[in-house]
């Protein structure tokens, strides 16, 4: 082999090694970036759950009130049941609330004095990779229970949890 040809092969080999190292570097970078993206999407899912839970807690459709005086962290059982039947019977209402809650499941689980659970909103995607649940302790107000008071409201207070599940 002549000296010039040797020089050429040497230059090509340098380039091959350079691009090989570049490709390895890019693969490592993409791997790390991918892991970061998964973590970010997990965080985003958790945040979405919290956001929806917070929204649900401030929704007048669910909140307990007397003459517009709002009771914080309290779900009115009658309103929740009315909303649940509205969403199951009215497609326009279902579409309307989808803009707020999107693909999620919102339910109230009463744990004391009796155990009971009612689903307020449910829109589960056909396929999802994972779901995330957010739990918020709430008072479940029953206005039909006679003879007692719940905070400042006529009726009875029960204890429960608002559960919001979001999907990805």
């Amino acid at each position: 082999m002549r000296r010039g040809e040797l020089g050429m092969i040497e230059a090509v080999m340098v380039l091959v090694v350079f691009f090989f190292l570049l490709a390895v570097g890019l693969m490592v970078y993409n791997g790390l970036a991918g892991r970061g993206a998964v973590q970010r999407s997990q965080e985003a899912l958790e945040l979405r759950g919290l956001r929806i839970a917070r929204l649900a807690m401030t929704f007048p459709e669910l909140q307990c009130s007397v003459s517009n005086v709002i009771q914080e962290n309290c779900v009115d059982q009658l309103k929740a049941s009315a909303m649940s039947s509205l969403l199951s019977s009215d497609s326009r209402a279902r579409q309307y609330y989808y803009d707020t809650f999107q693909e999620a499941r919102i339910r109230v689980r009463q744990v004391y004095p009796t155990e009971e659970e009612f689903v307020i909103y449910e829109r589960e995607p056909a396929e999802y990779r994972r779901s995330e649940a957010t739990y918020l302790p709430v008072i479940v107000y029953d206005p039909l229970s006679s003879g007692g008071t719940c905070l400042t409201l006529h009726g009875a207070c029960h204890f429960g949890t608002l559960i919001v599940e979001v999907y990805q």
């Binding site: 929204l55 517009n68 009658l78 049941s81 707020t100």
Partner: protein
């Protein structure tokens, strides 16, 4: 040409080609990373702003100054920052189409009809100036309802005083007056130099039936025409909070957001209607309360029906009249120690 010479030329061409390829690779990589990073930053800022707006929406009757990184554009269902659009679901946000500068003023209030239908979020900037021409009780009341952090001023309905209103370095000037076309300010010569994009007039008047219904009229500017402002879109709205919402919005944004507010009113009224029926069905006490639940149910049904109609003054008045009847029934339920409807 000798073989050695050809080889030297080939080496040079080969080096140039390889160098250009490497350079191209790095330039593409850097540009792509820059684009990804900018989009990521816009999305991150939008997410933070969204969180701020969600929080502001639940802090009623509290004004907050929020520092923003740049101009924010608003439409009916979302906001845009740096090319990234973020929808705000069913939140009812009233704002000018564009907020420029570094400061955003947020203020939220409940929309009570008479039950809480929704929370309204008002957004503006110190660079938007509100001039209330004080020719009615309603205008005065709206001036008082607007937070002090906003750039607002009240001017008496006096030709000399109105003529002294001059443009400042504002992005936009909104004039609010007790509406009636005969009282339209052709007396604002100081603002003649402003373009239709820089100034707008809103007329607000309470219904003659003295209920909680209002007419809001967005006047459009006709530069060079004998009548400087002519009535544009007119809406019948329910509640002073909604009349205040019109002060903050452009006609287009108000039209769309108020329609969404009526959609929400329809659905939440269905919830209250069902609740009143459940209360009536299970009530075993004195007959007076049962009658009151029945009356409340009729009012709620009427409100729901009217909320489905276009936003005219007639439908707003019908809603307002039923609001009064419902508030009365609710008050009496409270007096009789029965569970209230709202």
């Amino acid at each position: 040409m000798r073989r050695a010479q050809v080889q030297v030329q080939f080496t040079w061409i080969f080096s140039l080609f390889a160098g250009a390829l490497i350079l191209l690779f790095f330039i593409t990589f850097i540009l792509r990373q820059k684009d990804v990073s900018e989009r990521g930053l816009s999305a991150e800022v939008s997410a933070k702003l969204d969180a701020v707006l969600t929080l502001a929406q639940s802090s009623l009757q509290t004004s907050n100054n929020v520092t923003i990184p740049g101009d924010l554009g608003f439409d009916c269902t979302g906001f845009v920052y740096g090319g990234a659009r973020r929808p705000y679901g069913n939140a009812l946000v009233f704002a000018p189409g564009l907020i420029q500068g570094k400061l955003l003023i947020t203020y939220a209030d409940g929309w009570d009809v008479p039950y809480r239908a929704s929370n309204l979020l008002y957004l503006t900037s110190p660079r938007v100036r509100y001039i209330f021409l004080n020719n009615s009780e309603t205008v005065h009341s709206l001036f008082e309802a607007m937070p002090d952090a906003a750039t607002k001023q009240s001017v008496e309905w006096n030709i000399t005083l109105m003529a002294s209103i001059m443009p400042r370095n504002d992005d936009y000037v909104r004039i609010i007056l007790g509406a009636s076309s005969s009282t339209l300010p052709s007396y604002l010569p100081g603002l003649d130099a402003l373009s239709p994009e820089e100034v707008g007039v809103l007329g607000v008047s309470r219904s003659v039936s003295e209920t909680d219904a209002f007419t809001v009229t967005f006047y459009t500017r006709n530069p060079g025409a004998p009548v400087m402002y002519s009535p544009g879109e007119v809406f019948g709205v329910v509640g002073e909070e909604m009349a205040l919402a019109a002060v903050y919005s452009s006609a287009e944004l108000f039209n769309c957001t108020y329609s969404r507010a009526l959609d929400h009113l329809e659905h939440i009224t269905a919830v209250y209607y069902q609740r009143s029926r459940d209360l009536l069905a299970s009530y075993r006490g004195p007959g007076t309360c049962a009658q009151l639940y029945g009356a409340a149910g009729s009012s709620l049904s009427a409100i729901r029906r009217e909320a489905q109609r276009p936003p005219t003054l007639m439908s707003a008045e019908a809603i307002a009249a039923n609001m009064t009847a419902l508030a009365d029934a609710n008050q009496r339920l409270k007096l009789f120690s029965c569970p209230t409807v709202y």
